[in-house]
């Protein structure tokens, strides 16, 4: 057994030190990867035994020992230091890129430039270049390759912008982008196929299908909290649908923004996919143009501006917003698991700076103390005694948001409700995981989306009251429930409206490619992910074909009572009536 003693996992390269560009795989790697995804049911079952809980580990250890394997699984945790976190930080713009950026900055991107850009892309689209299956798949494969080859650069940019822990960035940004890309590549042919639909006797004889066609030139405005994923995920949809695209990444995540510019230019067809960097003036210039579709991710305030601008050109929009996503926690849950999953949806989810992060918890009064204790213990386990020092948590994105969050915490009537946490380090833009108990309902922290590491717990007498509480607020993007009570689950699904909902966990529903991701009401409109992305960027053209036989004169004037009878029979689908009317039998009204 070569590895009966587990060695420290080591990086196989010394990279990250100086150079960051490393191209290690050809497109062939992609196919290999695809081949690997076939399922392995027997292993899965065995895995299940192993992976359940940390609490099963001793058991596992025992079992393995029994069969003569001395594997010390407990080792995996404490001894680890190897991730070259610091090495990844100094991602500097390479010189060629710096000049590019300078050029862009030098001449402001104004309406005139935006207009020229759109004109250019429109003529490219009209060439038909982006419509072919080959073009689309080529771009998608290039993106997949880009994510694979430049993983380090991407992780580095995310570290610079958000101090996002590498592993978290890998899970949320890299992996989800990769799987979105893979799915699109493997299913694109099927998606593009016209969908045959049935026709009825009224239009007989005929055949009908729904044809997906690209909208044309589309705009994607992305945001800073998952600056990579939320740029590329929509881009993958827009490209798979065959559109020409302009991507405008967020200026609040500048390293990722410039990296995206550089990478996309390098990997995809720049004549049909462009990146425009910038802030308000650039976005304004872009929004003045006529687009065929706009996907915006961000806040409700800006969404209103985007939609009003779109109204001038009758452009359909998809708005991916947020909201105060609640988590109702029943008292009958497995406390440790629930607490971990709640934390997974808050502090390890970009430190709460996510549109589907848990905003606040609603729980019965009697259960709140236990939950708080579990959270307190969990925070210590996850982030140590000094969470503001922890490298396993993202920081607050910038000063503006730091000040906003500080203000939420410092409000009179709120600050004294902090049960743990509250430490902050303005220099490092870090705020510790903070739990607050029963803050006033009219305080700012309960009015706006928190989007940070503050977690208010609202107590109710009975857990069922939580549903009414959630319904009294604008519809959130996600709603969570932890319970073992099936009736409560059912009520929750039936009575609570939210973009999506997840029972007994947080955030994970985002990773299910068969589900639409999008909000309702204040949390947005339209949805994407997987095939829904393709559909979001495709126009569904109704195509109906008829022949010249079987012409029935009923629909043509001059009108006679017989025609009326026949029409009625036709519309009612009444075959006997049709025959009777046709042979002129049924003469009375």
């Amino acid at each position: 057994m070569p590895s009966s003693s587990v060695e420290e996992p080591r990086r196989d390269d010394g990279s990250g030190e100086g150079t960051r560009v490393k191209i290690y795989k050809s497109p062939k790697g992609l196919q290999e990867e695809k081949a690997k995804t076939t399922s392995n049911l027997p292993y899965l079952l065995l895995l299940l035994l192993l992976l359940l809980h940390p609490s099963t580990l001793p058991l596992l250890h025992f079992k393995l020992a029994a069969i003569g394997l001395s594997v010390n699984l407990a080792r995996e945790r404490p001894s680890f230091q190897a991730l070259p976190r610091k090495a990844a930080v100094p991602l500097r713009v390479s010189s060629s890129m710096a000049t590019e950026v300078m050029e862009e900055k030098g001449q402001a991107f104004d309406s005139r430039k935006a207009e020229a850009l759109v004109r250019d892309l429109r003529s490219r689209f009209e060439d038909g270049r982006t419509r072919s299956y080959e073009w689309r798949v080529f771009q998608l494969k290039a993106i997949a390759r880009m994510v694979k080859e430049r993983e380090k650069d991407i992780l580095g940019a995310l570290m610079t912008d958000l101090s996002k822990p590498e592993l978290e960035a890998f899970v949320t940004e890299i992996s989800l982008t990769k799987s979105a890309c893979k799915k699109a590549i493997s299913e694109l042919k099927a998606w593009m196929k016209p969908e045959k639909v049935k026709t009825s006797i009224i239009t007989f004889p005929s055949s009908a299908e729904i044809v997906s066609e690209p909208f044309g030139v589309v705009l994607i405005i992305s945001t800073w909290n998952f600056p990579f994923l939320l740029s590329l995920d929509p881009l993958i949809g827009a490209i798979s649908a065959g559109n020409a695209v302009v991507l405008k990444p967020s200026e609040s995540a500048p390293a990722t923004s410039s990296l995206l510019t550089k990478l996309l230019e390098e990997y995809v067809d720049g004549s049909a996919v462009r990146v425009v960097e910038g802030a308000v003036p650039e976005t304004t210039a872009l929004l003045e143009q006529r687009w065929d579709k706009i996907l915006y991710t961000g806040s409700g305030r800006v969404a209103r501006i985007v939609m009003a601008a779109a109204a001038k050109h009758l452009t359909p929009v998809i708005l991916e917003l947020g909201g105060k996503c609640p988590a109702i926690v029943d008292s009958n849950v497995d406390l440790e698991v629930a607490a971990k999953r709640l934390m997974g949806g808050k502090w390890t989810c970009n430190n709460g700076q996510a549109c589907i992060a848990v905003d606040h918890i609603i729980t019965p009064k009697s259960f709140a103390p236990k939950l708080i204790e579990a959270l307190r213990a969990g925070v210590e386990e996850f982030f140590g005694k000094n969470p503001t020092e922890s490298q396993d948590m993202s920081r607050v994105v910038n000063r503006y948001h730091f000040a906003r969050l500080a203000k939420l915490m410092d409000e009179d009537g709120v600050s004294e409700k902090i049960v743990f946490g509250g430490e902050r380090d303005e220099g490092k833009l870090r705020i510790a995981p903070t739990v607050l108990l029963d803050v006033p309902g009219d305080s700012q922290i309960m009015q706006e989306e928190i989007f940070g590491p503050l977690l208010p717990i609202v107590t109710v007498d009975k857990v069922e009251d939580g549903i009414a509480l959630v319904n009294s607020r604008p519809k959130p993007l996600a709603a969570y429930l932890f319970t073992k009570n099936d009736l409560l689950k059912q009520q929750f699904v039936q009575r609570v409206s939210a973009g999506g909902m997840l029972i007994n966990d947080t955030v994970l529903h985002l990773t299910v490619p068969g589900l639409p991701f999008g909000g309702v009401g204040e949390s947005g409109m339209g949805s994407y992910h997987g095939k829904f992305s393709f559909d979001a960027f495709s126009h569904k053209k109704a195509v109906l074909s008829r022949g010249f036989v079987g012409e029935i004169n009923t629909r043509y004037p001059p009108y006679t009572p017989k025609k009326q009878r026949l029409l009625k029979a036709l519309i009612g689908g009444n075959i006997i009536g049709i025959i009777l009317a046709l042979i002129g039998w049924n003469t009375k009204e």
């Binding site: 359909p316 140590g384 699904v493 629909r555 519309i571």
Partner: protein
């Protein structure tokens, strides 16, 4: 002022009623659809009467285009409702064991339907079918230009339905503006693209999703045919679709025709013959034609024709009678492309025919103009069909017929670009008025410890394998038999 207060109170009541959950159940939805059916049956005579008074529509045309097509749609919705309402399971990878995922359709809440005057009953109730089938509360604002129909809807319709969930608000543009200031969960607007921009801008204020059903210049591409029967049928269908569907005042009516130069004489003759067959020697006396909706539109159409450069191009018809708001079925040959008649949606019984050198040129002709709601193509050549399907864009594309796409429940009805956004009819109506909620249920039993910090390299390896669905790899890493991928 007082009415504003009343309206807001009414809407608040409706929201309360929606929140009570009454409208969500399948039985409630069914009862509303049956109520609609009963309305159409019991009030058929009154509907015909109102349409005759407002638009001079013949009862059979009224039945064909409005009552009948609505009956068909309600029946279809009743048949399919259970299936539409059922939630759809989404596939999950094996690794997500003990997890289920589904898409649950749920109503949006309080929705607004703004309808228009050319099919005042059809375009009011067709969206209503979808809104009610999806379990919403609805406010319907019919057009003030068809006052008899509007009145009939306002007085009679709520008595057949749950009056707490369905309200009809009559009024002109001020009422419309007032309605648009309110917060809705969805707006479906049918009308012109000018007003649509105002609707969309107003909706932006409340982040309300909008379906816009507009129009545009829907062209016919007329290829040549080898069989004379096919030519006859094509000419019949085109003349009918232009002049008979509410006298050309329909969003999917034929706007103009493109033909190849060398066939023009033959087609012209055929069309003239068919106008005679359909409407008689003296079409003015024909029972079978709707009139122009009002003086404003009559004047608009007259202005289109009175442009001297256009007037000289009239090859058939052209007779007008302002008192009776009548315009004869009129054909024009090659009016200047810069004239208003070729720039604006005509929406009346004037049919320009444009000749092209080669029928393939029509693709370029259409693509260089705003996207229409429908493109009609008469051809027997498969290769030409393929080209048109791939190279033009429109709400719908119909080969060898006209208008009937409106009746196909299985096809989405809606525009793109200047011809609108969003779609309805059949299940698409239900979907338009539903939110498709993603629901995932997990068990508290299974959990992967490597989901949570503190982070380390082994967790990263495990996650890599998990995301690649590489179960063997996962197992090996757990057992310590594999180090890095």
């Amino acid at each position: 002022m007082e009415t504003t207060v009343l309206l807001e109170d009414d809407l608040e009541d409706m929201r309360m009623y929606y929140r009570s959950g009454k409208t969500r159940g399948e039985s409630w939805r069914r009862s509303q659809l049956q109520g609609l059916l009963l309305f159409l049956k019991k009030k058929e005579g009154e509907i015909f009467e109102a349409l005759a008074q407002d638009l001079g529509k013949h009862p059979i045309e009224a039945y064909r285009d409005e009552v009948g097509s609505l009956t068909k749609s309600v029946n279809y919705a009743l048949n399919c409702l259970s299936e539409w309402m059922s939630s759809k399971k989404a596939k999950l990878p094996l690794i997500a064991i003990l997890t289920t995922a589904e898409i649950v359709p749920e109503p949006l809440g309080l929705v607004l339907v703004i309808s228009t005057w050319n099919f005042p009953i059809g375009l009011s109730l067709e969206p209503l079918i979808g809104a009610l089938a999806a379990g919403n509360c609805v406010v319907l604002k019919p057009s003030e230009l068809t006052p008899k129909c509007s009145f009939l809807l306002a007085t009679a319709l709520p008595t057949f339905l749950d009056g707490k969930a369905v309200k009809v608000v009559e009024g002109d543009s001020t009422t419309g503006e007032r309605l648009l200031r309110q917060k809705w969960d969805k707006i479906l607007f049918t009308g012109s693209s000018r007003i649509a921009r105002e609707v969309l801008a107003a909706a932006a204020e409340h982040l309300t999703p909008v379906v816009l059903e507009l129009g545009g210049k829907c062209p016919v591409i007329l290829d040549s045919f080898s069989r004379s029967w096919d030519k006859e049928v094509a000419a019949q269908r085109i003349t009918w679709a232009k002049f008979n569907a509410c006298a050309g005042q329909a969003c999917i009516a034929v706007d103009y025709v493109l033909v190849e130069e060398r066939f023009i004489d033959e087609w012209l003759e055929l069309m003239k013959t068919w106008i005679k067959k359909l409407f008689g020697e003296n079409p003015k006396q024909s029972c079978c034609n709707a009139r122009i909706i009002n003086k404003h539109h009559f004047t608009r159409l007259r202005m289109l024709l009175e442009d001297p450069k256009v007037q000289s191009r009239v090859v058939h018809g052209g007779d007008m009678d302002e008192d009776n708001l009548y315009i004869e079925p009129t054909i024009l040959l090659n009016p200047p492309l810069q004239s208003a008649i070729m720039m604006d949606e005509i929406f009346g019984p004037l049919l320009p025919i444009i000749t092209v050198k080669n029928i393939e040129d029509s693709i370029q002709f259409i693509s260089s103009r705003p996207k229409p709601l429908a493109i009609y193509v008469f051809t027997e050549r498969e290769s030409f069909r393929q080209r048109i399907q791939a190279e033009t864009s429109s709400g719908s594309l119909i080969f060898n017929d006209v208008i009937i796409q409106y009746l196909a429940d299985t096809l989405p009805f809606g525009g793109i670009g200047e011809s609108g956004m969003g779609k309805y009819h059949g299940k698409f109506s239900f979907d338009t008025f539903s939110h498709h909620k993603a629901v995932v249920r997990r068990s508290l039993l299974v959990d992967f410890w490597f989901r949570f910090p503190p982070w380390n390299e082994q967790k990263l390896q495990l996650l890599r394998s998990a995301y690649d669905y590489d179960y063997l790899g996962l197992l090996l890493i757990v057992l310590g038999l594999k180090r890095s991928s």
